[in-house]
């Protein structure tokens, strides 16, 4: 049987990859995808803990996260489309007028 720590290491790796994507990529859609990776990293650790503790709590929370993620993706993509219409760009550095 695969021990809990393996799941957590994979989860941490996924989370790190996701956050690196959020910080480093210059395309809004890629950033959204990276956020999804981070969410799924968390989901993985929830499920692993649930299995480890012998309860279903982790699975239930994961369902909630997936639902919210779906909604978030819908809203996020809609915002990306609206932003693209305004600036003809998907680079987050192009949207810095809300400052000072």
């Amino acid at each position: 049987m695969i021990p809990l720590s393996h799941y957590l290491v994979v989860s941490a790796l996924l989370f790190a990859i996701g956050s690196a994507g959020v910080f480093l990529r210059k395309n809004l859609i890629t950033i959204l995808l990276s956020v999804e990776i981070m969410l799924n990293a968390v989901n993985l650790s929830f499920v692993a803990f649930g299995r480890f503790n012998g309860t279903v709590d982790g699975q239930i929370i994961t369902f909630f996260v997936m639902t919210v993620a779906a909604a978030e993706a819908a809203v996020g993509l809609a915002l990306v489309i609206a932003l693209f219409r305004g600036r003809e760009s998907l680079n987050p550095d192009a949207f810095t007028s809300l400052k000072w």
Binding site: S19, V22, F23, P92, F95, T96, K99, W100
Partner: protein, 679 residues
Amino acid sequence: MNSLIPLIPLLPFAGFVVNSTMGKRLPKSISGGLASLVMVVSFLISAYLVWQLAQLAPEQRVMTSTLYRWIASGEFTLDVTFLIDPLSAVMLLVITGIGSLIHIYSTAYMHDEVDSEFARYFSYLNLFAAFMLVLVLGSSFPVLFVGWEGVGLCSYLLIGFWFKKKSAADAGKKAFVVNRIGDYAFLLGMFALFAMFGTLEVRGVAAKVAAMPPEAGFGLLSLATLLLFIGATGKSAQIPLYVWLPDAMEGPTPVSALIHAATMVTAGVYMIGRNAVLFSHTPDTLTIVAIVGAATALMAGTIGLVQNDIKRVLAYSTVSQLGLMFLAMGVGAFGAGIFHLYTHAFFKACLFLGSGAVIHALHGEQDIRNMGGLKKYLPVTYWTFVIGSLALAGVPLLAGFFSKDELLFETFVGGHQILWGIGALASLLTAIYMGRLVFLTFHGERRHDAPAAADAHGHGAHGAHGHDEHGHGAPHDAPPAMALALVVLALGSVLAGYIGVPAGLGGHNELGAWLAPSFAAPVEAGAVAEAGAARAEAAAEAAEEHEAGEIGLERTLMGVSSAIAIGGLLVAWFIWIQRREIAGQMARSFAPIHKLLLNKYYVDEIYDATVVRPVQAVSREGLWRGVDVGVIDGAVNGVATIVDAGSMVLRRLQTGSVRAYAGSFFIGVVLMLGYYLWR
């Protein structure tokens, strides 16, 4: 206990409340009538109570009424108590009696004001009467002080009654500020007394002081009485704080008569009389009081000689007469001082009201160089004015003669010959300037020879009055309400002195005997009879002594002062009727002195340079530009500047870059987690 006593001040106060709240909607007949009515009722109650007081034995003539406990702090308690004794009885009758007449006079004098102004005037006048009555009824220093401050407030309000005129507003302010200086000293004196005796009841202090020997040097007790006296110089217009009184003539003339001649300005004299026991124990202070009084009497008398404004002449005369009262207080002749206060109230009120009638008839003209020949137009005013002037000058058998004579006699007998000389000189000046005033105003031909520049004052005050132009032809005499007050006061000026006929003229000085218990330390009930017997014995002894040597002296001095009064009037008659050109010649040949007097010894200018300007400079440069602008505004603005500068730096953090924000979240989360993991 006597339940009628509180009504005396409460009735005028009720008049104030009604007139100040509903006065705008009341017609003049009701607001003025109500104000006069409460004064008359107050007078009747006072008269009834004084009659009751007179039924008691001289030693027991004290009636009190405690309203409520004002202060209770540890061992110390203070009640609001009203007290009627012979001294406050005299003051009560003067204030309510003359006050009633002046209220009645005012209903005619102020009739040209609009309803709301008319009611405002009477509400102030009633409030003044209420405070003045509290002042004389108060049995303790704090209660007296409430009245003392209250009359100062009303004086300010009434001097500045025509506040749209700048000179009137300034005069009110000057009166208030100068009075504050005196009031401050008065408060300090009160604190000193409390520190020494632990009580603020006037009679309590007197009882404790009476057990002590008179202070030999200038100690704490002398300091306390001196501070009280400085308070009195402010309220009663003595050197060095007399400067506000002549300016106070900017107020309506009945106000000058009531507040600035008959009642409020005598509060200082009354206060010293009330504390006679205390002051008798500090001979040093008494000497200062006498010297200041004599100096003021002389100085104001000389200024009065050359002034051209009818009311200002009377104002300086008031200052001079108050000086004489303080002279009497200072030589320990408290009875004589109060006697002069009482007669002075009659003839000076009469003179002021007479001058008001003249001003009324001439539509605001106050310069005596523009008067003359008014005798045939204003017979009632003329005759009452003449009687008042003769009484003031001290012509024999009129009120002023008895009181002034008593006062000068006591000064002389007290061994103060120099002060007597100054007092006599001041009386001579009084006779001369009163003669000048009467002759210039009422005799000779109508004149209009005042320089145009001197016209500045006077017109504004009555300019608002709705007189028709045709009134200028023949001045009309005083209307009935004014004539009534004038005639009654003129009668008073003749008769008021007869309650104090001196022994030298076969009298017994009833007023002096009546007042005597007020100037002695209060005695315990058990000791009353004994003290009464002792006092009777002492009085008999004194009378015997009096018989022996003093009657001759008294008659001689009486002759001297009669000669002074009549001589002064004759001089005035010679200069201003017979040979009018002499006045001009004298003014030219003594030009520097004339100029000095005309400019009132430049005292206003000296105060301006030595006090007003430095205070203003310190206020402007130090307190305003330094403390207010520099420190206070500086601190407030400094905080704002620091916050502003800090924000200028911190706002750079808001870059607008989403990734920078996300990065800062991330770093923050890592730091927090790191803290919990590694702590």
